[in-house]
């Protein structure tokens, strides 16, 4: 490859190193290129692809490395393969909450799972190497676009009207015919087809749809904005996706708001379709027992006026009330609060009744609130039940007689109840599944009646300030795609100093262009253009 500037043998124009077609007259500079390569030559209008010319500093070397289409495709391939591998085992946000991911992947998927975890595939989209790959893709897109786009822009922008004879002959669509008396009507006819006409002596350049050539670069700009937007997601404060779990009747602080906002779950509603209601869901209803028609959380939204010290009780001011339903989030500031799911797995309270030795119920039932149990219950006149001990998740009885809990979560509640009827007191240990007398020969027994669960609404708190970037990126990307795909860059060169020489080039759809030209030529009484592909090997005709 030539590294010196090139002087055109035909017109004397000095071209940058690496140029294939003279920028001035279109004469072929490197005659090694045979005719099969005409298409390649014309892709960047014969101008030098920059990176193929010189390499000096380390930055130049990096730059040239990333301008390579092969490298770009390899990066895209690597991203695609990584994304595919990321679907083999579940991502971390799909594994059960509170489980140690290191153990989870090892236990469930063996050595492969361990590898998966250690290489960061469990959190693919935020693993450092995936971020780096995307960054390199951005560099590759920018470098390759600048490297090709700028020379293309220059050569299209300063193209000359007058072209060398050989340039005419090399174009796929070519006509050499006797000059008609009136060439201006021919030019006018093209002009009516919305060709822009440039004239230089007896030479004409007719051009339209040049924007098509910039389609890929518009497209790439969109991609870069898109990548930039997805990068911003990692910046603090730009993106929030948090789960908020609120029991009915309770108030919770909204995460990431610095203790500024609180939400109270007034009521959670779950409506189902009535089986008798209509025909629309009949089939679904007969397959499943229950089809849900509405999830709804009625909330009160509070602002905290004393967001000072951690742990201090907030000073809540009621701001708003709202009913959050699926697809009807509550919006405040940049945040949205969505209905996500519900949870009724946590025990809230247990109700018991007292039986005497004959099996008759004594007095009223009593209910123990598991979150904050009372110590004593007056069930009838003179008869009281005292809760002497409570263990939310019963494990064992300690040496000193206290109940030991395995966790603070009420999964397997156990109680020691004392029944006092004024004369004597009896003790018994009650678990969900069995009860044991502690004192001998108890008269009373306590029976489990029912349990109530917490109805917790699970909401998702979302904030995404990157949406404008991502939306803009996509729109520009699509505009670029449209420009590159549906607009054709068509150029016709005409020379009228001897015979009528006509050559035409388009970046796509030669068939359409040929028809357009022939229509004009025919109406001016001229013969149709020659298509080299038609004249040559018809078996290989691809258009």
């Amino acid at each position: 490859m030539e590294l010196k500037e090139i002087k055109c043998e035909s017109c004397g124009h000095v071209n940058p190193p690496g140029t294939q077609l003279c920028q001035s007259c279109g004469n072929m500079i490197n005659s090694d290129y045979d005719k099969n390569k005409i298409k390649d030559l014309m892709r960047y209008d014969g101008s030098a692809v920059r990176s193929k010319t010189r390499s000096k500093s380390i930055f130049d070397k990096i730059w040239i490395f990333f301008t390579s289409v092969k490298i770009g495709v390899s990066i895209i391939l690597a991203i695609a393969v990584a994304a595919a591998i990321g679907t083999i085992f579940p991502q971390e946000y799909f594994i059960p909450l509170g489980v140690d991911p290191a153990e989870y992947y090892q236990e469930n998927y063996g050595t492969l799972g361990y590898l998966y975890y250690s290489l960061g595939f469990h959190n693919l989209y935020s693993s450092w190497w995936f971020l780096v790959l995307n960054g390199l893709l951005a560099l590759s897109i920018i470098a390759a676009s600048i490297d090709r786009g700028i020379p293309l822009f220059k050569s299209l922008n300063k193209q000359r009207v007058k072209k060398h004879d050989s340039f005419f002959r090399r174009q796929r669509l070519f006509l050499n015919t006797e000059r008609p008396a009136d060439t201006s009507s021919l030019i006018d006819a093209f002009s009516k087809k919305r060709y822009k006409v440039r004239k230089e002596g007896d030479n004409y350049l007719l051009e339209k749809g040049r924007l098509s050539r910039y389609g890929p670069y518009i497209n790439h700009t969109g991609l870069i904005i898109l990548l930039f937007g997805s990068m911003l997601r990692f910046f603090p404060g730009m993106y929030v996706d948090e789960i908020v779990h609120i029991n009915e009747g309770e108030t919770e602080e909204l995460p990431t708001t610095e203790g500024q906002y609180f939400v109270r779950n007034e009521a959670f509603t779950l409506d189902t379709y009535d089986e008798e209601a209509g025909e629309v869901f009949d089939q679904a209803l007969s397959n499943n027992r229950m089809v849900i028609s509405n999830f709804q959380t009625d909330i009160t939204f509070y602002k905290n006026n004393s967001a000072d010290i951690v742990g201090s009780s907030p000073d809540l001011e009621e701001i708003d009330e709202y009913s959050i339903r699926v697809n009807h989030p509550y919006r405040f500031g940049d945040y949205e609060l969505y209905q996500s799911s519900y949870d009724n797995s946590q025990l809230k309270s247990m109700t018991f009744r007292l039986e005497d030795e004959n099996g008759n119920t004594v007095g009223d039932n009593f209910t123990v609130n598991l979150n904050d149990p009372e110590e004593s219950f007056e069930v009838a006149d003179g008869v009281s039940v005292n809760m002497r001990a409570y263990s939310p998740d019963f494990l064992e009885i300690d040496d000193n007689g206290t109940l030991v809990s395995a966790t603070p979560v009420p999964r397997n509640p156990a109680f020691v109840f004392e029944v006092a009827d004024g004369e004597e007191s009896e003790l018994s240990l009650l678990q969900i599944m069995n009860s044991t007398d502690i004192t001998q020969d108890n008269d009373y027994s306590i029976r489990f009646v029912e349990a109530e669960e917490h109805m917790a609404s699970v909401l998702t708190l979302k904030k995404d300030l990157t949406i404008p970037f991502i939306a803009t990126g996509f729109i520009i990307f699509l505009i670029g795609l449209f420009t590159g795909s549906y607009i054709n860059h068509r150029r016709i060169w005409i020379r009228t100093d001897g015979n009528l020489l006509l050559a035409a080039h388009t970046n796509k759809n030669y068939f359409g262009m040929k028809r357009e030209i022939n229509e004009v030529l025919e109406s001016n009484g001229l013969e149709a253009v020659n298509d080299k592909l038609d004249d040559g090997d018809k078996d290989k005709n691809k258009e």
Binding site: W128, L131, L139, I309, V310, T402, P408
Partner: protein, 176 residues
């Protein structure tokens, strides 16, 4: 485009993208609430104790070193270290204070636990019912013990059961 402009363009694009990748990876690796470590400033908090008094960390550290012990009645090592801490504490605590921060349990559970002990606990038990302090310190396993000196700096942290020696080590670190 002249060679110089081209070089400036190339270098600035490569450097910008390199920096952006670096920043993003850094944000990514440091995201999530970071656990309080030795050398960090201790997050100030105000909690109500089992006795109904309000205590604030920054007020305590004005005069004394403070040992924060995050615990729960259901956690075996917590139960076991409590009497030891109490023994050391009752020998004198003029220059330090122990605050046992109970993580989100109700008073019944705490009182039940204390009533099962041989001696009453002398140090204050702070109730972190909403787990806001536990979250602010990003406490992992229980028990976790943190020593804060008079400057309000975390000087020692341990995420397992304290021995008698550990307790005296925490006291001396917090009062230095």
């Amino acid at each position: 485009m002249k060679g110089r402009t081209r070089n400036i363009l190339r270098v600035s694009i490569i450097v910008t993208i390199g920096l952006l990748i670096g920043i993003t990876v850094w944000f990514n690796l440091t995201s999530g609430t970071k656990a309080v470590e030795v050398g960090d400033k201790a997050v100030d908090f105000r909690l109500t104790t089992l006795e109904g008094e309000e205590i604030q960390l920054s007020e305590l550290t004005e005069e004394k070193g403070v040992i924060l012990n995050f615990w729960g009645t259901w956690c075996k090592p917590c139960r076991e270290e409590m009497p030891d801490m109490n023994d050391v504490y009752t020998e004198g605590h003029d220059d330090y204070e122990i605050v046992a921060v109970n993580v989100a349990e109700n008073e019944q559970q705490i009182r039940q636990f204390i009533s099962g002990l041989d001696a009453d606990l002398e140090f204050p038990i702070a109730l972190d019912r909403s787990k806001s302090v536990t979250d602010a310190y990003n406490i992992g396993p229980l028990p976790t013990t943190i020593a804060v000196n008079k400057e309000g700096i975390v000087v020692k942290k341990q995420e397992y059961q304290l021995t008698h020696d550990d307790i005296t080590a925490f006291i001396s670190e917090s009062t230095e």
